[in-house]
Amino acid sequence: MMPYSILTAFDIVLISTLLWLAWKMLRSEDLFKAVVLFISFGLLMALAWVRMRAPDVALAEAAIGAGLTGPLFLSALRRMERLHKDERRVNIDEERKSETIFHTQQKETP
């Protein structure tokens, strides 16, 4: 009787943590936080596969889900932010250009 109760407690904690992680991941505004939550979700999901007696799926989940997709997401995030930074710089440049045009126009008019 004893081992089953311990394993049941293990499963309950595992499942509730997984659900909580998934909920927080979907709800988070911060993309980086979502990626880290995704990595942790992958790790815990691997544990869940182990509990479902599917160690081969657990291996794939740990290697692909957390080990490969996580770092890929991290790199993608950086590219995205760099893209955003470039856009912002273009905008600032345009503003500055328009400002200088405006100033020169002002200088010329009087």
Binding site: V13, L37, S40
Partner: protein
């Protein structure tokens, strides 16, 4: 089937669940990443204990994948993801 090992694994799982708080509130990006690293180390320990507790030796291989992943993720994090924007501000 040994219930002592599985209960030890259960205790470490509780440590993981508590570590989630650091991911959720960690002020900087590095804090969140460190919590994910904690998940990796604790996951290795859980898998080792379950390998003994559930009598499945295959779990040792998964533990090794976990160990390698921990290094991979944090190296990618440092080299690719953590720059000024995600630094001290968030």
């Amino acid at each position: 089937m040994s219930y002592l090992h599985t209960s030890c694994a259960f205790i470490i799982l509780c440590a993981i669940a508590a570590g989630m708080i650091r991911i959720l509130q960690g002020p900087t990006a590095a804090d969140r990443m460190m919590a994910a690293q904690l998940f990796g180390t604790c996951g290795v320990a859980i898998l080792l204990l379950l390998a003994k507790g559930l009598d499945t030796i295959v779990l040792l291989d998964i533990a090794m994948v976990f160990a390698l992943f921990a290094a991979l993720a944090s190296i990618t994090f440092v080299r690719r993801a953590w720059h000024e924007q995600t630094g001290a501000s968030r």
